[in-house]
Amino acid sequence: MSVVPVAPPPGSAEPAAAQSPVAAPRRDLGLLLVPPPARSGWRVVLARILAMCVVELQKLRHDRTELYTRAVQPALWLLIFGETFTRIKAIPTNGIPYLDYLAPGIIAQSAMFIAIFYGIMIIWERDSGVLTKLLVTPTPRAALVAGKAFAAGVKAVIQALVVVVIAALLGVALTWNPAKLLGVAVVVLLGSAFFSCLSMSIAGIVLTRDRLMGIGQAITMPLFFGSNALYPVSLMPGWLQAVSKANPLSYEVDALRGLLIGTPAHLGSDFAVLTLSAGLGIACASALLGRLAR
């Protein structure tokens, strides 16, 4: 018969049951004797993406603080910058109120801000051993990176929803067509997948949080101001127009504008560029992930 101390001895946070000097009675471990059958091929990738997205949603369910605090910045952009420039009428927007023109850009920006620092999370997971454990599971690196990328996308989509609600409250004439809103979610998902992979790739090169923070901050503003988020590309000098054409954020904003406020957009090429960028990002981040594991 096991002898359980009346009170836990001082100096240990272990629960009383675990402090028994005699092992607890045998439990049913039947399922733990048989390894689960293995998935293969594309189903592995889908299963891992789903697993990572579920984790992200579970974390958001437990703690929504980040969701609320991250809503402040886009709200300020729309309220202060948007309202002011709407009055100034300095930026030609083909007759669309500037606030309406700006809202899709701010959705893309807030999604990018979430994704661009995802590499810090990967470094934190490396330091805390979580990444190491995941790398010892039957998960190809590309599937793990894709899972992380789309988990960032899920977080960004939820953030985008918050910004859409704020924009609607400020009177922006957004579409409520479910198919177009689904398109918006896909665009945000793909864009965030690319930017999170860019961040994870940089993490794989610089290897430390401090360096990644610096580089993240250094590239965020050029990506944002070098896109069509705040003003039309036609207003930019030639060299900046070239930068804008190579910037996936421009394609994300163009698609969001087309879907949300009905401006002329190149949806086909926007989706193609975003899909290709996400694919390249996943390939690049997967190749560099091994450096974090060593």
Partner: protein
């Protein structure tokens, strides 16, 4: 003792049929043959020859920077090693990475549970990444959590757990896929004696029920003495002594002609202490050890 079934996997490549036959007949859980691994100019593992028998608890001991973690990371596919240096149940991790990973349960040095998730969600994540079907997942996760005595705390966030509870949660994460080889890298580091005992009791009980092989590194000689069937003392990337704790104590006692039987701590000092003294005399080698430690610190 119950025997675990072979994990599902196909060996369609004819070139690998010989390896598949070896795997089917494997009685050794891990075989390392001349394993080498370097970080830059620092040789962390230098010609390691090691065999871990199926079903045993094998302790890999040694001072900091001895190469234990690097050896473990090579075995667990975290570090790329050339073909032929490592076999896990007959499979070469260099060629059959996924098959090897399906047989592994791994607990790293750090307390690595995700504090933002509950205990159950932490284990469920690992059930998902090991392809446990939705139909079976909840029951399997519940059994893994029960196996480590965390049922009552399962729905609390892991950040509210004590160090010992986190370690047991990590064991549950490793056990949920029914691994044939459980690899524990200093599983009780930083825990108080009661938590250490509870972690080892969990390992012992599950191992007795499942027959899995356990490969563990530790700095606690009393734990190695009490819980390991065999131990290997590693120093400067190589095995310096190998046997049961009793055999090593007897051997060192006879070598040193001691009046009283030595402890495993004495055995550790006998094999590792002299090596460190030599390193201090040789500046270059000491620098190498320091660099290895910095690298180890960087990679966590």
């Amino acid at each position: 003792m119950k025997k675990q079934s072979e994990p599902t996997g196909t060996t369609a490549d004819p070139a690998d049929q010989e390896e598949a036959m070896d795997a089917a007949e494997a009685v050794e859980a891990v075989v390392c043959t001349g394993l080498e691994y370097s970080f830059g100019r620092t040789k962390a593992v230098d010609g390691l020859d090691l065999t871990v028998r199926s079903g045993e608890v094998f302790g890999l001991l040694g001072p900091n920077g001895a190469g234990k973690t690097t050896a473990i990371r090579s075995i667990t596919t975290l570090l790329p090693v050339p073909p032929g240096m490592v076999r896990v149940f007959g499979h070469d991790p260099a060629r059959r990475q996924m098959q090897v990973r399906r047989m592994l349960g791994y607990v790293p040095q750090q307390l690595s549970a995700d504090g933002g998730l509950t205990g159950r969600e932490n284990v469920s994540l690992f059930a998902r990444v090991f392809d446990v079907s939705r139909r079976e997942r909840a029951a399997r996760v519940a059994q893994a959590i029960a196996a480590v005595d965390l049922t009552e705390a399962a729905d609390r966030l892991a950040k509210t757990y004590s160090g010992g509870m986190v370690r047991r949660l990590e064991l549950a994460q490793a056990l949920v896929s029914a691994p044939r080889l459980l690899v524990l890298d200093e599983p009780t580091i930083g825990l108080d004696p009661i938590a250490r005992t509870s972690v080892w009791e969990c390992i012992d009980e599950v191992r007795a029920a499942t027959g899995m092989t356990v490969l563990v590194t530790t700095h606690y000689m009393d734990e190695a003495d009490q819980y390991c069937d065999r131990v290997a003392l590693m120093h400067r990337g190589r095995i310096r002594a190998l046997g049961t704790p009793e055999q090593l104590r007897t051997e060192v006692g006879e070598q040193l002609d001691l009046a009283e039987p030595p402890t495993l701590d004495d055995v550790f000092r006998h094999f590792a202490g002299s090596g460190l003294a030599n390193a201090t005399e040789n500046e270059g080698e000491f620098k190498d050890v320091r660099r290895t430690r910095r690298t180890a610190s960087r990679v966590g």
